[in-house]
Every structure is written in structure tokens, then in C-alpha cells.
Symmetry: C2
Subunit: 198 residues, 2 copies
Amino acid sequence: MPLYARALAALESQGRFVVSSKELGEAVAVSDAQIRKDLAYFGRFGKQGRGYDVQKLLDELRRILGLNRQWRMTLVGTGRLGRAILGYEGFSPQGFRIVHAFDSDVGMIGKDVGGLTVHSTEDIEKLLSEDPVDIGIVAVPAETAQNVIDRLVKCGIRAILNYTPVTAHVPDDVQMKRIDPVLSLQGMTYHLKAASGA
Amino acid sequence: MPLYARALAALESQGRFVVSSKELGEAVAVSDAQIRKDLAYFGRFGKQGRGYDVQKLLDELRRILGLNRQWRMTLVGTGRLGRAILGYEGFSPQGFRIVHAFDSDVGMIGKDVGGLTVHSTEDIEKLLSEDPVDIGIVAVPAETAQNVIDRLVKCGIRAILNYTPVTAHVPDDVQMKRIDPVLSLQGMTYHLKAASGA
DNA sequence: CCTTGTGAAGTTCTTCACAGCA
DNA sequence: TGCTGTGAAGAACTTCACAAGG
């Protein structure tokens, strides 16, 4: 569904006013029937014979998905990867803002990284209780990932973006998504191998 | 399946010799039945009453998934994100190596980034025909993504790791995986919103 | 005539549950 | 006894196809 919202935003900036399920489906590589089913789940947004009003549907989707507000995030781990995440310009235009950074390395604590002061991981609980966030981003070494995640969950965070290569365990009411390029690559090599006959 | 391989590697380094589908399932957050079904699809690797031999199963999985060899990759786009990808230390231990880097910015061409000389994107076809690779990594601005991907496909690349926020179109016999942290975040906000009642 | 919204049919994926073997 | 491999049952998801409305 966030994919639909993104495609609609692109259509809107192109000046399109109406779109059919077929066109939208082509843009996001999904069948037209699938588009209609997904949208119909949340309401009746379309007009028979015409399609969907781009602007109106985009507004609806943003509201439904919670994309019409700011989300505050905390980052744990300011190593090479963590600093790249802090420097990523793609978050804020979409309403995601990193508001603190933590690291366990004494050499990093107190430093300024991308406009944020790096705090000690020991202060996670203290800072998050003073200044709560919605989402936690974890970019620590694999060994400490589960521990950090447990602590974030205990602080009330219910969504985690996990950049570490570990399958961490969280309660059912906590969501976690993993960003793992190696896993993505490994998911493709099987088919590559099969196709090349190697 | 690559997840199973990773969990097995961890078990192996812990000195475990045997693992049951139940234990492996807990490690990767999958049901024991699912583990058995998945593994049985490729062969009969287990022993009733005991479980799976960690070492042997890991070898089999690596062979099946094509993880027992090196994969050569090309990177297009050496902006902030592309340079972070080049600097990522997680690829090579798993057998993935970036062997060239391209950029369209004249200011970048000829520069050395992470040990690689940056080539002009105009030379993609020439370099890839001299020195073919298995996988393409795309980290260019959204506007040029589809064009770059088309060219990589034309060069015979059949697997693409797409770091851009666009749904690009590729032939059926070409695989593409997308790394898009914002999309992952947007996939969680719906449930966050629902839970908080906002 | 065009396109939605939606039951029905079809397909794929997941769990159940147990025979069979170490 | 313990755990695999696997048919059968069940659940979830996808496509089909069409009535109804602009």
C-alpha cells in the first residue's frame, strides 16, 4: 500500500487528475484486480467508468497509512552504517526524523554527527523516557542487536528498523523490518545459479 | 532459505552438531513444519529422532543457494549512498564483490572510491562486455533509475539490487530486489497509528 | 462504453497430524 | 522415545468475471 501512495504522488506531480486501477497497477507492477481489492478494503474511493481521483485517493491513503504526520525516530549505533543512515536525505521529506543518536563507544560519545550529539547507550532509557519516539533504528554490531532491541521495546517502542543481520525476537505487538542487502542478494543467487546451469 | 543458512552458520560457530526443525525454527522465527517442508523440497537431509546435521545441512544449503562461490557485482551511482555501499564491509565475507563503479558526474569520473576507479556511465556497455558481472547494484537518482536498469539488463545482467525508491520494470527472467528503508518505515506506520488510536 | 467493487473460483502457502524410522 | 518427511486439511491470498453505475 505505501507503494500505491508513492506512485500516486508521482502521478500528482505529473499533473494527472484521474487514474484507473489498470494504470496504477502497471506503475507498481501489480494486477488491476489486486489494486481494486486493496483499495476497496478501506473504502469506495473510485468512480465507475472513470477511475480514481489522484489527489483524493492520495489524501485518503496518506491518512489511512499514517503518512500525514511526522514520525520521530531514535538511532542506536553510529558506526560507519549508522552515520550513513544519519546522512540519508530520504527520511525527512517523507516525514521521518531521527531525533537522537546513541553509541557504546566512548570515543563517539559527545561527538556531533549529522547535527545530533551522540549519547551513551547507557542513557537510552533515560533519554527515551524524557523524549519518547515512535520508531527505533538499530545499526549496532550483530552481537549486541538483541539486547539493544529488548531495551528499546522496554522503553515502549513498537516499531523497529533493524539494519543488523540478525533475526531478533520481539513481542507480537512490536513490528520489526529488516534491511539486509546481503540477504536480498542471497535471495537472488539461487535463481541465477539455476539459470546459468552452474 | 538464506535465513536458514545464516542461522546454521551461527550454530556451527557455536559448536553445535545437530539441530531439530523446532530449534532452527525458533532461531529464524518460523514454524517447525515450515522448516521441514522447505528443506524437504530439496532433499531428505534429516535423520528421524535426531534432527539435522548442522555442518552437512549448511553445506547442502550453500550449494543449493549458490552461496559456495564468489559473485561479481557492478555499482552504478557513486553519490553519498553509492559510496556507503562501496564502503560496506558485509558483502565480501559472504562472497559478494563489487568490481566496478560508474557515475555520470564528470567530477567523480576517474576518482578512486574505496579502491575502485569511477568510470563514466557511458562506458557501462563497454566495460561490462569486457568484464561481465552477475549482479548490478543501482544507486542513482530516481529519474535515471529505469534507464540504468534497462541498460544493465541489455548487458546480460539478470539480478539487480535496486537502492532507488522507484518500481522499475524488468523482464520476467531478471530478478530485482529493492532496498528502501522509507518503504519499510511506511509499512509500519499503519499499525503504529492503529495501536495508538491516533 | 468504460471502470469500479465484489462474489466465486482458483491457486498458493501454512499448519496439522501421524506413519515410519533411528 | 524423538523427530523427520509428507499427505490431507485449512487458511490466505490472487485472479476471474460480471453486475451495476457513471
